[in-house]
Subunit: 352 residues, 2 copies
């Protein structure tokens, strides 16, 4: 019973073989289908929990378990350290994910989830925006130009035909480097102000590291009546990006209601001000057809089910392409499961 | 930023080099010292949570996070599938453990915790029994002869000079094989009944897989007035091994009160019937000197802090002996942490 380690180098090899656009397209389709078929009686997802700390830097480390009854448990551990890029030159979000066989508790696979989190967060916005965004959208706005901004631009550009993107970050270096980082999308990227972005965007993604109590990240001024916002940055109690006045005018769809009320934009709303969650939305998309012409918000806090879908796709490709490293990690090699010392050489055991 | 994988083969190499007895002796000393120095302001341990399920077999998969402020997070995932030995010929408890750097969220190391759980559970009973057990103990009793029984016998035989062990299991194969499995301790092992074991033992360990609501595993009959019991099997709501009448007469010391009240023998007691926890006990051992001559119970549900101590010992030896496999798992290799696609070859990215 070995464990498959799927490293970032294996993921790179999968991308080389399959193509980044093909993988994003496939993930969007898989996620849409999985959410359409989502069954509360088959999948248990508790709201994530975690440790918040301030030594040596402010940080957050959370665990996101998911049970598919009779099949597997997925456990993502995801950390959030806004000091990472400046202090250690690594991403703000660092993460890994494991799956466990529920027939016996074995750790089947462990993979990078730093890339995967970013990739699936893009795909999730694409799935929500396919229902809520205006199909004629030509302008995408980005507020907050970190790693998540790149996958938002990528995923949404696979669904909409954008002419250009308007971007803003409190850090000018971040906004200036966006055109290079998103160059592969062939989109024209212009640096703008939050107010202009709100004014001109058809679709807007907020992907900031705004601090607790420091939001909103823009003021509620004029916008297109059909504006759809993917609010991605809000993922912690007290942290949110959008003006409450704008939320109250919007159809607000959380990815995962339980978590969004604790950590997302939904913190700012009463229960009766919150719209359908992502599952209800995708399973009843006809009902929300008019939302394409109205103000809407996807409150994306990050749902463990999205991780599972992305993880499944990459592990399936790893199996197909014979990638990854298999290691016998757990002590399950003995002939006698009642003897925890059987794996030790008999001679060593007698002379212990 | 690579991740160290410490497999069961690496652990075997450590045991070959250092010796099983030396490692157990060292772990007992380390655990005693770590508990003596335990500081609630520096270490956060929530009660574990998990999924319980009945498809395809009854099972439980739990996560046990621990934060040492400013240092690291330890996350053990531990599963419990009583059908494992018969159905899959692997241990009931299968587990793995990871540590994360709190400066950046990086998964520093991942190791087998199947062996480690069993090993540290033995050491924990030794630590508690050093305070609560009678130093002149000559007879050890074991009720429930699975994998945990072996490490209980091992650890306690490093502290007490037992003449012989009395063992019982509902499965005769399990009790019969105990003398072979515990042969390395040079102790004489006799198969007995629960009543005889209770009657003759100086120290008793209960290590059963009794079902919810099916306890206690023996009746409250005569016993030595100085009997000390390590109750190891109780680790789930509704599951317990000891008669409540015996508990009410005992000094009951939980490893971790919050968890023991939820999952341990302490479920059967009111708050005021519960004695000091393991930390209080070890930090105030003089105060409990008389307990050596009185009935006492160590309610061992399994505390994440014990795992951390054992994990640290094995990873320190792995470093000394240059063991383990280092793999770059996470996507933290880019020059630009704001670009989640930078690790992808430029040519592939342009032709994506």
């Amino acid at each position: 019973m070995k464990t498959l380690i799927l490293s970032i180098n294996d993921i790179r090899d999968i991308i080389s073989e399959i193509g980044l656009n093909s993988l994003m397209d496939e993930l969007i389709i898989r996620m849409e289908r999985a959410i359409f078929e989502f069954d509360l009686d088959k999948t248990l997802v508790p709201a994530r929990e975690g440790f918040e700390y301030h030594e040596p830097h402010s940080g957050l480390l959370e665990w996101m378990p998911l049970l598919q009854i009779g099949e597997q448990v997925t456990m993502k551990v995801v950390s959030y350290h806004p000091s990472n890029p400046a202090v250690q030159n690594i991403p703000t979000i660092v993460s890994s994910i494991g799956t466990f066989d529920v027939t016996n508790g074995h750790l089947v696979a462990l993979a990078d989830a730093t890339f995967l989190t970013s990739f699936r967060t893009g795909a999730a916005s694409a799935v929500a925006s396919k229902v809520l965004g205006n199909p004629k959208s030509r302008t995408i706005g980005i507020i907050g130009c970190g790693a998540q901004a790149v996958t938002q631009l990528h995923a949404l550009s696979r669904i909409f035909e954008f002419d250009h993107g308007l971007v803003y970050d409190v850090d000018p270096d971040a906004s200036e480097s966006m055109s290079k980082r998103a160059g592969f999308t062939d989109m024209e990227i212009e640096i703008s102000t939050p107010e202009e972005i709100l004014h001109y965007s058809d679709i807007l993604c907020t992907t900031t590291s705004v601090g607790k109590g420091e939001g909103p990240v823009f003021n509620h001024t004029n916008h297109n009546p059909w504006l759809h916002i993917n609010a991605v940055g809000s993922d912690f109690p007290g942290k949110f990006e959008l003006p409450v006045s704008l939320l109250k005018k919007s159809l607000v769809c959380p990815d995962f209601l339980l978590q969004a009320r604790k950590e997302g934009e939904c913190q700012q709303l009463r229960g009766d001000e919150i719209g359908p969650d992502m599952v209800h939305l995708v399973q009843n998309r006809q009902k929300y057809y008019d939302a394409r012409n109205q103000l809407s918000v996807f409150d994306s806090t990050g749902w463990a089910f999205e991780d599972k879908v992305a993880f499944d796709m990459f592990t399936e490709y790893a199996a197909k392409l014979d990638l990854g490293t298999s290691i016998q990690i757990e002590s399950t090699i003995s002939e006698d499961p009642k003897n925890p010392y059987e794996f030790i050489n008999e001679v060593i055991l007698q002379n212990c």
